[in-house]
Amino acid sequence: MQFLLDNFWDLSVTGLTQGAIYALIALGYTLVYGVLRLINFAHSEVFVTGTFASIFVLHAFGLGSDDPVPSAGMVVLYIAAAAVGAMVASAATALVVERVAYRPLRRRNAPPLVFLISAIGASFAISEAFGVLVDRNNVRVPNLIEPQTQFHLFGASVNNRQLLIVAAAIVMMLCLDQFIRRTRLGRGIRAVSQDPDSAALMGVNKDRVIALTFILGGLMAGGAAVLYDLQFGVTRFNAGFVLGIKAFTAAVLGGIGNLRGALLGGLLLGLMENYGSAIIGSEWRDVVAFVFLIVVLMFRPTGILGESLGKARA
Amino acid sequence: MSEDRMLDVRDVTLRFGGVTALDGVSFHIDRGEILGLIGPNGAGKTTCFNVMTGVYQPTSGSVVFDGRKLGRRKKHQITRLGIARTFQNIRLFPEMTALENVMVGADARHRTSVLSALFRLPRHRREEREGRERALALLDLVGVAHRAEETARNLPYGDQRRLEIARALATGPKLLCLDEPAAGFNPAEKAKLLELIRRIRDDGYTVLLIEHDMRLVMGVTDRIVVLEFGKKIAEGAPAEIRDNPAVIAAYLGVPEDAA
């Protein structure tokens, strides 16, 4: 307990950093849930694809895992390139999953459980494909950022990497929020979320909206993947599993289908994990996360903010 | 007098946020009668059912059934007290057979535990047999017996409506609440349905009938309660209701002060 009090702000900063990544991935779950009312179980692999794609891009630039950190200008270029690569790859994966594993089932009006099985199949297949590709080894990320403390916040040191991650996550979420609120395509997503049948009657092309939703979720997951690579410096073919569960937990925590809920849930989950593991030990981190989820759902059965992207269908 | 009361709805008000769905509604149903509950769309008829069956808790007021206040009883407990209902938009168990649908209703009167089902103890076997016989008899009563083994999803529309009635009767109710049972029926089907309702009453059940179509209600009910915008605007014998200016205004959509 003393450790928590002594390091409260340090723990908060790391918790928020972690939570920002959860939140970005959670957005993908929430978006798809909003329009299709199903858990896109393969979203974790959409994320993993991004973590590999950004490394492949960096390798293509000739960066090795043990090379020193390049000059500042080049770092910006490299990160931008990696981000583009990861986002494109993740969005493409999401789209392929939609086409191959979901759309045929929608056409056949399959029961929800079957969507889940199909998604699980896609998840296994993608993750294993990477496993085979890299011989199930860890893949290290070239060094791009040397963490340096930038300033102190209530006595907690904040480094450049943490700043970048939180800032990038916030910018991406703002862009998504504006896109969904302001653009015609975004209105389509909201319309389908709220009432798919009326939306179809009003001339919204449901298939296109669904595809767009998967792409948006993929873009966010790709962004999260680059930030994850920067933060942890290593990825694995099965890295998505735990992260996917956490992100989904974050989405449910905030109220699935609710974009702001995903943000809130992600940040809260990151914070609670850090505080909890400070109190009872870091090996209990995941247990803290799940117990927190169960307790919240007992009192707020549809998450903290409720389901609002579309109203819950009875 | 209270001996004859089946159900007493006392000054029931129900609000959702700022919307008042029911506003001080009171009426009663006597044992063995067929009461019609009518009113234009959105008048609060189905909401009234939902309060009586425990789906909603009234904001104020109370419902007394067979001498007992419903209070905060759960939905399934109210069913076991003896109120059964059908649904305006049919809600059968689509992947179960017609027979199984009715047996679910009959199970409301059964007492076998999970363990006696697991080991097929004698009481379980006896109840299974009785439930099955009762369900078949009820399917026969509503005229769906020849489709007992078909899944509810695949039954024709009219059979689905009649199956709902059989399922509700299987729970062994004292009061049967029918929510627009004739919706979508042609005149011939409606006539047969009225006959069925009368037969159900003659078998000793009390019936509460929601119907949109006034002419239909006139033919079968003993008494009618009219709702509009969540308020009771009239109550009386069918003949009185037919000539009631407020009712006519409500149905023709004329504002009350103009009527």
């Binding site: 699980i120 090996e283 117990v291 | 789906v55 179960m96 076998t112």
Partner: protein, 372 residues
């Protein structure tokens, strides 16, 4: 394409589907038409064949790269677990992604109460441990279910997923449960051979397979009894329309809790049998992916259909072992197979009993000249 073309296509698809149902229904009708004694003899012969399977070691079925009886035993454990999960998912329609948690509770109960190397003072024999394992798994089911069963489907899914992880991480992080190293010397079922060696030994997995087989028969019979009772009807009604079920007098919460408890009990039993055969368990054996495999077994065969679930479990557990030479790719192929299966056979491999009964009824009517 005109509308009538579309209608024609729909009819053809329906006819195709009916043919598939017939393919399963005909043998079933033929079987039901046989006289009772013939049925018993045929059933007995089939049972004997199953019992002799590990001794016959048939060339095509046999697994060249791993011990065949052990593979059969593992397949049996999967069948048990899938039968238990089928009660929760297939019958009551509750999406449980953390079923491995109950399996782990069962396995760890046997290990903690039975192993001399656990920290408990007395090491109880296997036969005492198994009822404890089942009881504790049921308690776990009720403890998890009571606060969470009011949640809607997808929320329940993530909560159960979390539960599965909580169980594994608790085992991993607490000393009493052996931590990452696990617990060894898990007791085996009793029994001795004529030469004084143990019946349930380390080398020969055949007795374990027979044990699992016997338990499968028991569980199939038990879940059949439940399914054909008011309990099974209540579960189906809850799956179909929970609110309507409640309004028809079904105490939905109570029966959902029972589904969880029954499913958990079978899962605990499967875990207890598994732990006995392994003789050693650690958290590695209870990863969440196993939950997903169990779920896949249930859905692949046709959720709610006992025979289908057994077939699904056999596919999920056996195929990867049979094709071990493709070890590198087997999960990849398995994943692709799940997608293909979902797309082309969304109702599972076997149609449900209801679907078959219904088709039979339709045929009867056609034969009787009733216009359908």
């Amino acid at each position: 394409m005109t509308i009538s073309d579309r209608l024609g296509l729909a009819d053809r698809l329906r006819a195709l589907d009916d043919r598939r149902v017939q393919l399963v229904t005909r043998p079933r009708q033929w079987w039901n038409g046989l006289p009772k004694p013939v049925q018993w003899v045929a059933f007995g012969a089939f049972a004997v064949l199953l019992v002799l399977l590990p001794i016959l070691d048939p060339p095509i079925l046999s697994t060249p790269d791993s011990d065949f009886p052990t593979v059969l035993f593992i397949v049996g454990v999967y069948c048990l677990a899938a039968l238990g999960l089928n009660i929760v998912v297939g019958l009551a329609g509750l999406l449980d992604l953390g079923y491995v948690g109950f399996y782990a509770v069962g396995a760890y109960s046997v290990a903690v109460f039975g192993s001399p190397s656990s920290q408990l003072a007395t090491a109880y024999p296997w036969l005492v441990c198994v009822p404890i394992a089942i009881a504790l798994a049921m308690v776990a089911g009720v403890v998890l279910g009571a606060p969470t069963l009011r949640l809607r489907g997808d929320y329940l899914a993530i909560v159960t997923l979390g539960f599965g992880e909580i169980v594994r991480l608790t085992a991993l992080n607490s000393g009493v449960l052996g931590g990452a190293a696990g617990i060894s010397d898990v007791p085996a079922p009793p029994g001795e051979l004529a030469d004084g060696s143990r019946l349930f030994g380390v080398i020969d997995a055949k007795p374990y397979y027979w044990l699992a087989l016997g338990l499968i028969f028991v569980i199939v019979a038990a879940s059949r009894n439940l399914e054909r009772s008011r309990v099974g009807r209540a579960w189906l009604a809850i799956r179909e329309d929970e609110d309507a079920a409640e309004l028809m007098g079904v105490p939905t919460f109570k029966f959902k809790l029972w589904a969880f408890a029954m499913g958990a009990a079978v899962g605990g039993l499967a875990g207890a049998v598994f732990a006995g055969q392994q003789g050693f368990i650690n958290p590695e054996s209870f990863i969440i992916q196993l939950s997903i495999l169990f779920l896949a077994a249930v859905v692949v065969g046709g959720a709610g259909n006992r025979l289908g679930v057994v077939v699904g479990a056999i596919l999920v557990a056996y195929l990867p072992e049979r094709f071990r030479e493709l070890a590198e790719y087997r999960i990849l192929v398995f994943g692709l197979a799940l997608i293909v299966m979902s797309v082309f056979r969304p109702q599972g491999l076997l149609p449900s009993r209801r679907r078959a009964v219904e088709l039979a009824a339709r045929q009867d009517q056609v034969e009787a000249g009733v216009n359908v």
